[in-house]
């Protein structure tokens, strides 16, 4: 630390901000302990799409693992992952795994809720496209083509009378959504301008779909067929940032 920095200690200007964030991450779900077969099968996957696995952070899930894993087994596992370009950042499983995680300097995360999708490696064509901007690739971006659920991103205002549908995936709108317009998605809907039109998430029946918006001023919101109209919506969190999800048979609106 320099003397200048010492003087600065009294300065109240924040040096950092604490922020919450969500990102997609690849999960390696281990089913049985067989290091040789793991190495071989992983090599096969990597060969299909080398770019996809380059410097990809992964979470190793031990929830489905039947037999015990010792520290030697874990270290062997981690080495195989790293040899193939994967970067294990955390383990996931019950509390029993904490000593193991600490020994391997990994984070231990609580068990998931079983909502992950099975990832398939990207098609060869998709991979060819992905290879060009390799330097700029983020792990989250690399994971997108693999999911097979294209996210639709709209940057222009959605005007009255317009309808935007994201089949098989999420819809993200970075502009105002006017009254008299309609957003539809098989997955989630995110709106970063005011949401004044209709938003219908999970239109093909996905009850886990949600609607996220910066300012709730919608005419109607719906998740998997359950809906609320403006008259009901006005009573709570009107014009606030909220997320809307399905809670049993009714819509739950919670502040973001």
């Amino acid at each position: 630390m320099t003397s200048d920095a010492n003087l600065d200690l009294l300065d109240n200007d924040p040096v950092f901000h604490l922020k919450g964030g969500m990102l997609a991450m690849t999960v390696v779900e281990l089913v049985r302990q067989a290091p040789e077969r793991f190495a071989m099968q992983l090599a096969e996957k990597v060969e299909q799409a080398p770019n996809f696995f380059q410097d990809t952070p992964v979470l190793i899930s031990l929830e489905k693992l039947d037999d015990r894993l010792d520290i030697a087994g874990l270290i062997a596992l981690l080495r195989i992952c790293r040899d193939h370009g994967l970067l294990p950042v955390a383990l996931r499983g019950p509390e029993d795994f904490r000593p193991l995680a600490q020994q391997a300097s990994l984070v231990l995360l609580p068990p998931g809720r079983g909502r992950e999708k099975v990832l398939e490696a990207p098609e060869p064509e998709a991979q060819a496209v992905a290879q060009q901007p390799a330097a700029a690739q983020k792990p989250g971006a690399a994971a997108q083509p693999a999911q097979g659920t294209p996210t639709r991103v709209i940057t222009q205002p959605v005007r009255s009378g317009q309808q935007v549908y994201a089949p098989g995936g999420d819809l993200i709108v970075l502009a105002p959504v006017s009254a008299g317009s309609e957003l539809l998605a098989d997955g989630h809907i995110h709106v970063y301008g005011p949401l004044r039109g209709r938003a219908l998430a999970g239109v093909r029946g996905d009850t886990q779909a949600r609607i996220f918006c910066q300012s709730l001023e919608a005419e109607l919101v719906s998740v998997a067929g359950q809906y609320k109209v403006a008259e009901d919506l006005r009573r709570q969190q009107w014009k606030e940032a909220v997320q809307i999800s399905l809670d049993g048979d009714s819509l739950k609106i919670a502040a973001l």
Binding site: Q156, P157, R159, S160, Q162, A175, S178, P194
Partner: protein, 268 residues
């Protein structure tokens, strides 16, 4: 390079024709060769606002059908050498317009004019669609009132999806013109404010035209209101033309007139 400008709104009666006449005249007075084209076939009004109704011989539909040529059909404005009017047909309806026909006429006009101002009919049907289809820029005329704002929003959606530029992956440059604005009524909460409308439509503001007696007077006399440079509406339209040409002019007439001390004492 000729620029095609459409004056549109969706809703009727908000001031499209008044605006077309004012903006067109304003451009001509600043030295640009300008033609105002009336697309409202069947409900011809522009000739009245421009005061040239007695000189209409041929019209837009005649021109499209080849019954007349451009020189015969265009009416030269008496006030400016740079200004011409292409009147609509009063005896036909909007089905008389065709995409190819409109394109042919606009292509001819492009050869001689700097600005082609298209006065769109109300609605979102064929006439309005043809008026905006070939446009480079659009002025969306809106009254500070919810139904007008919603219709304008709908029209903005069509501009960005059903125009030639949008089909080519380009965009029409959009401008918002708020007309019949009354700051007093905004203060009393009876009218949407400029910021309310800007918030909903989120396009750049070209101008705010105050509610004014001068507009009705000008229409009845057949003189575009922009010629009345003593009126607030005329000045506001002049400012809008300057902004359209790329100059930065501060917005006026947004605040209610404060009553003076004497007026307040004696109830002016």
């Amino acid at each position: 390079m000729a620029k095609i400008l459409v004056i549109t709104s969706g809703k009727g009666g908000v001031g499209k024709t008044t605006t077309s006449a004012a903006i067109g005249t304003g451009l001509a007075l600043r030295g640009y060769k300008t033609v105002i084209v009336d697309f409202d076939v069947g409900l011809r009004n522009l000739d009245l606002i421009m005061g040239c109704e007695r000189r209409v011989v041929y019209d837009f539909v005649n021109l499209i059908n080849g019954d007349s040529n451009l020189n015969q059909t265009l009416i030269k404005d008496k006030r400016s050498d740079n200004l011409y009017i292409l009147p609509a047909s009063q005896t036909r309806d909007k089905d008389a317009l065709t995409l190819e026909g409109v394109q042919g006429v606009l292509d001819q006009l492009k050869e001689t004019f700097d600005f082609i101002v298209c006065d769109s009919p109300a609605g979102i049907e064929k006439g309005a669609h043809l008026a905006m289809y070939f446009a480079d820029e659009a002025i969306v005329v809106t009254n500070p009132e919810v139904s007008s704002v919603r219709d304008s929003d709908r029209m903005l959606g069509l501009l960005s999806s059903k125009s030639r530029r949008s089909e080519q992956g380009d965009r029409i440059k959009e401008h918002l013109l708020l007309t019949r604005y009354s700051p007093e009524r905004v203060e009393n909460g009876e009218m949407l404010s400029v910021s309310d409308v800007e918030d909903i439509l989120s396009i750049p503001l070209l101008g705010v035209i105050p509610e004014s007696q001068a507009v009705l007077k000008a229409s009845n006399q057949g003189i575009p209101v922009i010629m009345d440079d003593k009126s607030d509406a005329g000045q506001a339209y002049s400012d809008a033309v300057e902004r359209l040409l790329g100059k930065e002019v501060p917005h006026r007439f947004l605040e209610a007139q404060k009553k003076g001390l004497l007026k307040r004492l004696f109830g002016g």
